[in-house]
Symmetry: C2
Subunit: 379 residues, 2 copies
């Protein structure tokens, strides 16, 4: 494939007036999303082009199963990708952790498309999973942020997330750019396999084009989260609940808080709450609920009522308009409406901001949290 | 299929001298395992018979994919089942939560075998998943403890776990019996699909026959855990780490502690530790590590060293013999060696005992933990 040079100059890697790299990178997300889809969306022809992916219609036709593999935050992107791709393409998608994949004797063949995801392109366990895929003859591709990294060299093709350099150890803009890359991949694969016509594609593209503005709207409302951050900064535990495509975002929100504030935050599929974690809930345990509009809204609402009935405090991220049944306005943050497949991006942003604001109030080292490395390059 | 009557008399549902139902049920596990495999293992003919399953060789031949669906503890059994069945049968196995399965538009057809697992046979979300499978024409079966329950009536066949009545809200003997049922199912399916010959089967059956005695050995050593329970009873947080087939057991161990002691315990795939949870580790956060012999042992050992390097306290469950590199003897509990597919049963038992002992020291209501119901019969 054609070599590609991305110019990152030293200025781009400075804090540009922000207190931390992480905050700067949270605020760069609208741009990172635009940069990730810009070269892939051909507005004149109404097409998705993923030239570096190196997978044409014939290649797509030979695929019967897709495996998405990654570690940490990128693994949460894989989980979202499963929802997107299975629904757009009606093809089975399996997700696995890099560190687990090799050791379970995965069933792979020439009809398997293995897609590994990593910001750095150097994550050791993910690299080992890719190696396993190559040895077993799978079609191997990568979604990576760093040009020329190991995964790019090993895989037969790539989708770049054009997020620019990410310095904060806790991944932010690379994650939302991965979600956009997976959305592009799902659309591309769906068109190539005849699952999506031009008109449907056009509507999906329109949703994507409107996404950066919605992200900017949320960023402009950062201050709305500061009251929540102050009220809950001294809690020792948090629970994050989501359903469907927002279940992985509950995991990601909890991971952000865990990484930078050292609060023990845990994400759960909301339907599992009654099977165990509800025993933990009391007035000391705030519960962050992610409420997408649509068929799952009422189910989440019943989770909210269960939490309240046990004296728990609810922090609700609500898509669309406020619903009085959720709780008082100071415990709510409204999320702009979007396509169900892009809602994960919009719900992620306030969770990043909340984790960041709590960590700053607690005085932790936000950009270099204890015990963590930016890229885990050993197994 | 032939109706079957199981006789549970009132005496069996009393505590029989144990302080709690949960402790009684933990101690009934050797017998529950024997009762679960006894009717299925034909020692004279060296065969596995699962008559109630209603799935003959022709039925097996038509299956291209297996979905295992459950909630809570039974979901952890599904995760173990994936490892067992994919390795024994070389057929793709997907696992999903009952509450998530329906809403992701699952790909099901006549070549899909959907197996739902539930102690009560009444779990609402699991039942709804089974309904979805029936409507989409999948081959539907159930692994259930209660005769005549909803799942049994709906599914086209069943494997009963003969664990007897389980009164404690936190599931113990029903879970290990589910693991045995899945082992039996894997062997049956592997033989029926020509993946396993008589000699291999015989070795697997031998391992199963030796299992109850190993469980009894662990139960007889309960007292070895009391020092650990006393030392760590006041901790507010625990981390449980496992790899491969023991990753779900890390989740299950954490769930037990969470349910009955209200300590915020979280399970993680050990390879993910460096991607986030390691930020939480300090001298206040004990880390329970599950160390299976074999290829993953050295990887777990490096996790142990990372935890110790951050001042964390390690509680190690170690299969086989002690390894001085793990830590002092008072922080270790030895697990008898077994087949890799049955190790999950043996690692589960001391985790149940540890959770039980800690909860008793903390004075919680072990058999009726706050906020929890035995069967979650609403969605």
């Amino acid at each position: 494939r054609v070599p590609r040079t991305i110019e990152w100059n030293p200025i781009m890697a400075e804090k540009a007036g922000y207190k931390h790299f992480m905050l700067k990178e949270i605020h760069e997300q609208s741009q990172a999303i635009i940069d990730t889809f810009r070269s892939a969306v051909d507005l004149n022809r109404g097409e998705i082009r993923l030239d570096d992916l190196n997978l044409d219609g014939k290649g797509v036709a030979g695929i019967r199963k897709i495996c998405l593999i990654a570690c940490g935050t990128s693994y949460h992107a894989c989980m979202v990708g499963k929802y997107m791709i299975e629904n757009m393409c009606r093809i089975p998608v399996e997700v696995d952790l890099g560190s687990e994949f090799r050791y379970r004797g995965p069933l792979l063949g020439q009809d398997t498309l293995l897609v590994v995801i990593s910001q750095s392109g150097e994550t050791a366990d993910t690299r080992a999973a890719l190696q396993e895929g190559l040895e077993k003859g799978a079609v191997c591709r990568a979604i990576v942020n760093v040009v020329g990294s190991s995964l790019v060299r090993m895989a037969g093709g790539v989708i770049y997330t054009h997020a620019g350099p990410e310095i904060g150890v806790a991944s932010t803009k690379a994650f939302t750019a991965q979600l956009v890359a997976l959305y592009l991949f799902g659309l591309y694969f769906a068109v190539a396999s005849g699952r999506l016509d031009r008109q449907e594609l056009s509507a999906y593209i329109q949703e994507l084009i409107e996404l950066p503005r919605k992200v900017s709207d949320i960023l402009a409302r950062s201050e709305e989260l500061s009251g929540l951050a102050r009220r809950f900064m001294n809690c020792r535990d948090f629970l994050y609940l989501g359903r469907g495509i927002l279940y992985p975002i509950a995991l990601e929100g909890a991971l952000k808080l865990k990484e930078i504030s050292y609060i023990h935050a845990e994400g759960y599929a909301a339907g599992e709450m009654k099977h165990g974690p509800i025993a933990l809930i009391d007035e000391q345990m705030p519960v962050v609920v992610l409420m997408q509009k649509g068929p799952l809204f009422e189910k989440m609402l019943s989770n909210v009522q269960e939490v309240k009935a046990r004296g728990g405090q609810v922090i609700a991220l609500v898509e669309g308009k406020a619903d009085e049944r959720i709780g008082p306005p100071e415990n709510r943050f409204l999320i702009p409406e979007s396509s169900p497949w892009l809602a994960p991006v919009l719900f992620t942003v306030p969770l990043q901001l909340l984790a960041y604001q709590i960590a700053v109030l607690r005085g932790t080292d936000v950009d270099q949290p204890r015990n963590l490395a930016k890229s885990v390059t050993v197994e």
